[in-house]
Subunit: 374 residues, 2 copies
């Protein structure tokens, strides 16, 4: 774990760079907005902790009504459980003996631990480990509802795998994982709704088919920040996995709302704090945040508060800025905030959130699942 | 620091995934090849540790004749010095009081610590810190030789800054940093040579101009894995900074040699080890290595040993593979090696190198400068 870039009580300008800033007011507003949007709609919220990798944040989500969190990796689940989170669904297939053993052992730690499967061999391995560790693991069938990544096909293939799970003495059939990742970033509202409704229809069909076989879905889980309102209204899904809503990255902010204007339900609360480390020409500045400080897989970061300054190119340790306004001052040593193109892999580069309110550092939260890829 | 994904003595297939594999035979051959290519040519080798972030590797480079290493960040320099590396050049501008103080303090640790500058205010700050800590810091002027990133322009602007450094009692003018990053990945050999020769000419001009003012360049440093042979032959550069040669990523492997065929001087020694975690269709497999296991900024990874299997899409924790050969078997749980598109930011995601020889794990080296962005 690297040194923290700040101390509690510091003014924001004293925070070292590059570092991960969290605007606590906006962050808390985002937390409350989703909790309020979901309340009373008959669906539970189980936010994805792959976005934040931090039990402190998970516990705040739970304090506002979330039933637990989702994880993608056993290492993330360990970080959550050891950080005090009692209810974790691994929304992913866990393959490999050592990982499955860790998962089964974790289920003995006074925590509810669920996992997904999409292959009979994996179900067999999960069952063996559960029996070896004396636990009964809840297992969801992952269904391919449009992302064409993992998952069995909806309908009969899902039912067949659910039957195998239900017949495994170490396992319990717990429902369906039906996440349509590709739908989350469809820009147009109506098209995003169409993509999600298609996923909902496949999920509904499968739930009904399972029901006719006496296989009840305790959890029907999916949805992300881009689509959650559709799944929430579906009367099929009973859990939502949205994760990015707490931070909002530059890419998600390009999604449009029902009026065609950018959706502004959630605000940007997460920033990369960076320092101007070179001012070679009037039009060019270089900041100390490049590929090792932010992920560019979903586009370059956006400079906050300075629409006339553009982040035009990332190198490993440098970010090149173009100043479009000749009157813009940006002296050597100036610190500025960048909105990451994609929050999740950006967070994974850091060991600390620097939470601030107004101009004062108020929190230093360790990102304990940073790098937990195993 | 995360758990190691392996134990010494394990067979390769038992290593957990995703993890960073280092083929020790190929790695050592790469180390020796560059050392041999440079020996007797009147230039020193100072490999860039931003690629490996590991003092164990730095000390191996030094054992083969390197004079020390380069770093980009103070945190990297600290990791190197505390890891036993006695000679570190920070090939970058260090801006901000706390970082400059750490740099000056580090220079008291029985290590030679050099740094670059491209701005009078930064030279002033470096001088103040050096005087406060009672050290004399060697400072190089960074010259823009074509990358249009940091650096003052060649010729008179460089001389003016060198004069300021030489006149600062806490500093010593130590030479020029002239790295042409943009030239490294020019595919065609002749064009890469042209780009580098243009950088060499600007550097030569500046060295001569400085010499006429009595300002001697103890170090004239630059070059990368793509261009080092040109700088080595220039009789202007006396240090080479190549870093990627030890690993070779998929992007660097696209560079062409003088005959027009891909340059094969250095081999791929670094891999992401990944597990097939889903086999939904005959043509599709999913591995457990996505954005949090490899950096896609310079393109997607390439599947080693299986030219008929293509890594077509990365998500945060998933990599989607397309199987182009219907006879290819790739069972659930199969482990395979991926050649990263870009090694440097990929290494920065991990805490451990798993070194192997043949089929046996032989080394677990901690990546102590992982995440050292400050």
């Amino acid at each position: 774990m690297t040194r923290p870039p700040a101390e509690i009580g510091m003014p924001l300008e004293a925070v070292d760079t590059p570092s991960l800033l969290l605007d606590l007011d906006l962050f808390e507003r985002n937390l409350q907005r989703l909790a309020a949007a979901v309340a009373g709609r008959g669906v539970r919220l189980r936010p994805h902790s792959k976005s934040h990798k931090c039990p402190v944040i998970a516990l705040r989500q739970i304090a506002l009504g979330a039933v637990g969190v989702c994880c993608q990796k056993v290492g993330e689940a360990e970080a959550m459980v050891y950080g005090g989170v009692p209810n974790v669904l691994v929304t992913n297939e866990i393959v490999g003996k050592s990982k499955i053993a860790r998962l089964a052992a974790l289920a003995k730690e006074r925590a509810w631990i669920g996992v997904c499967a999409d292959h009979p061999d994996n179900v067999r391995d999960l069952n063996e480990a559960a029996l070896a560790y004396g636990v009964r693991l809840p297992v969801l069938v992952e269904v391919n509802v449009g992302a064409d990544r993992c998952g069995v096909e909806p309908g009969e293939p899902a039912v067949a795998l659910a039957r195998q799970i239900a017949a495994s003495p170490g396992l319990r059939f717990a429902g369906l994982q039906a996440y349509h990742g590709a739908a989350q970033h469809v820009r147009e509202y109506a098209k995003r709704q169409d993509a999600t409704e298609s996923a909902v229809a496949k999920t509904r069909l499968t739930v009904e088919l399972l029901g006719r076989q006496g296989l009840t879905c305790e959890l029907v889980t999916g949805a992300g920040t881009g689509s959650y309102a559709f799944e929430a209204a579906s009367r099929v899904f009973n859990e939502l996995q949205a994760g990015s809503y707490i931070f909002m990255d530059a890419d998600y902010a390009k999604n449009l709302g029902p009026t065609g204007a950018p959706a502004t339900e959630f605000g940007h609360s997460l920033y990369i704090y960076a320092t101007v480390m070179s001012r070679p020409t009037a039009e060019r500045a270089v900041v100390d945040a490049g590929h090792k400080a932010l992920s560019v897989d979903s586009g370059l970061p956006v400079v906050a508060d300075m629409p006339d300054v553009e982040y035009v190119r990332a190198a490993d340790e440098h970010g090149k800025l173009t100043l479009h306004d000749p009157n813009r001052r940006l002296d050597l040593g100036t610190k500025l905030r960048l909105i990451p193109g994609h929050c999740d892999p950006t967070v994974n580069l850091y060991d600390w959130y620097v939470g601030y309110r107004g101009n004062r550092v108020e929190a230093l939260w360790p990102i304990t699942a940073r790098g937990a890829v195993l």
